[in-house]
Symmetry: none
Subunit: 200 residues, 4 copies
């Protein structure tokens, strides 16, 4: 029996490891981490139960890999749109809108963050690592702004946490109300709320 030289649809060629990650994302978001069995991930991904454990040593490891992969995707999307100009507010706005855009383009991944960023499923070490690498340059922006007198002089760590909280709130709102995601008024309002809090 010869192996036929097929030009199969992309989805079928896509390697099993990626299929497992994709399926895990969907199921973790819709049913929770403990509500999702490795068997169900394997089944829906179209692989055998054993296969999952060839690619990931454990369920926890799969979760960690998923978390870091998506965080990296998010960071890449943000970095792509950073054009350091002289206008700090403009830069901040671009960053904010990029982040909102990404969350609207990847609602399932954003829901994944909402659910798991703070959950005990993610070890603090992994969480902090992911957070800092992303919030690192936010922190820099805030310090710069303060030195330039454009940003209020509150403790930086408090402001950082506040940024994160407002961002989560905004994406939560837009994901719950998808039709407003393209509405200029709402989009601007979400940034203005944020910026007013920050500015001096």
């Amino acid at each position: 029996m010869n192996k036929p030289v097929t030009t199969q649809p992309i989805e079928i060629i896509k390697d099993k490891r990626q299929a497992i990650l994709d399926t895990a994302l969907t199921l973790f978001v819709s049913q929770g981490f403990h509500g999702t069995s490795t068997a169900s991930i394997a089944k829906q991904a179209g692989v055998a139960t054993g296969t999952l454990f060839h690619h990931f040593p454990s369920k926890e490891a799969l979760m960690e890999c998923l978390f870091l992969t998506i965080k990296q995707e998010f960071a890449d999307a943000l970095l792509l749109n950073i054009h350091k100009g002289n206008d700090l507010k403009h830069n901040a706005m671009q960053l904010w809108q990029s982040a909102i855009d990404w969350s609207l383009a990847n609602p399932v991944k954003q829901l994944f963050f909402q659910q798991y960023s703070m959950s005990p499923m993610i070890t603090p070490k992994v969480r902090d690592q992911a957070m800092n690498s992303i919030l690192g340059f936010i922190s820099e922006l805030i310090k710069q702004g303060q030195m330039m007198g454009l940003i209020a002089h509150y403790p930086v760590e408090l402001m950082l946490e506040n940024c994160h909280g407002q961002y989560l709130a905004a994406t939560r709102f837009f994901i719950d109300n998808p039709q407003l995601g393209t509405n200029k008024d709402y989009r601007n309002a979400s940034f203005e709320l944020f910026w007013k809090a920050m500015q001096s």
Copy 2:
């Protein structure tokens, strides 16, 4: 055998149902919902496994009861400190400080909210019910402020979500840094960030 005139320590008299709720709170926060077995709750609460199910039909029902009970406690604490004066900003600050105070006085309960307010362990129906009954008067305050020209004219639902997000961020910060909870500068800063976002 005479019935002894007991002056038992309060903790022992406290009924078993409450002991179960208290223990569940602690364990859910420290080990997660799925990481906590009903057997361990019962054991640590000093009751038999069957007793838990005598008072709560299921583990989920126990969680729901716990969530609503604590939300009510929080709401009661806030309502106690509302003194409607003419100065809107002052009123808002009192509310904000009451909320922060409560979270510092009840750090475990606050952690419980951080973990479960957005989790799939809580039915959307229950979550919304709890949210609306509490955030209801916040919504009213915002609308009043807008009519008086003191609060910015952004969509109310977006502002509401933003309030919640900033509150979660502030309590997260103070619980992670307990020694700053009594620091006037940090406390004021947390309110100022919030208020600046809101004001017109």
Copy 3:
């Protein structure tokens, strides 16, 4: 607080012991012995869980009491209609019709027999005792008929078992098809099948 002198409806006055027996009958038939908890019997009978165990030392004892009580009821109904005439076939028919009548008048009790007469819930001792006391005079009738040359000369124990089997089949049929219970043709047919097997 005075106890009012009420003339309560019979159902409420009916003593709790009987209420427990009645409820147990219904539930055992509809949900099976193991599918029925003592708690559910007590609840539906309108008594406390403990009360059941004041009247019956155990669930098994309740079952046994129920079984014997109903068997006795059935036997009483049959004996009432026995008028020993000279016509053996006529006597047999009266007996047969009485039995069918009883089963139609007490369908739940008949279903109870269908389910439990042969089940391991009833100890063989109790079962045999109940059986023999009733089938005793059937046995006598057969022997008489054989001596008179009216009944076929097969082994009595085999015929006895056959009688029982045909009776169960007939009641099963009439209970499954209640509208045919009053149909003369079906009623006569059920007896004729039985009698033809028996006669010599």
Copy 4:
């Protein structure tokens, strides 16, 4: 390590699924459905508890599978011995004797039928399906006999139920008195009782 050329005893080669079915049959008959724990089935079958649930989604499903499997076995045994000759009574006798033979050769399976054919453990749907597929050709035989004037003209469904009842009675008798199973007189008597009821 070479794969040994095993000539293992048949019992050990027999797959685990079958071992579970066999053990379940024995235990359900001797201890009842609810008196038999899935753990005890697995243990006595020599497999892990999980294995049972790998092959059968639930205890109920195991019961259903067992019931249908045995019913099929019984039907196969009957069909094997049907030789449609011209003598209807002879055909009926062959069928009757085959059925009794099967019950004597498989007493445990027959006891299983006695206990569970009418029990609430078996869904009415499953019960009817099994019954009809087997009793289907009995029904045809009766109709044929009636057209040929050999069988009494009573309602077919009533006669069918009667057949079943007499069959259960006969097997009950022979299983309770195993030494009479080979006794010609008793065997013939059991058929004659049946046939006399049927004939016109």
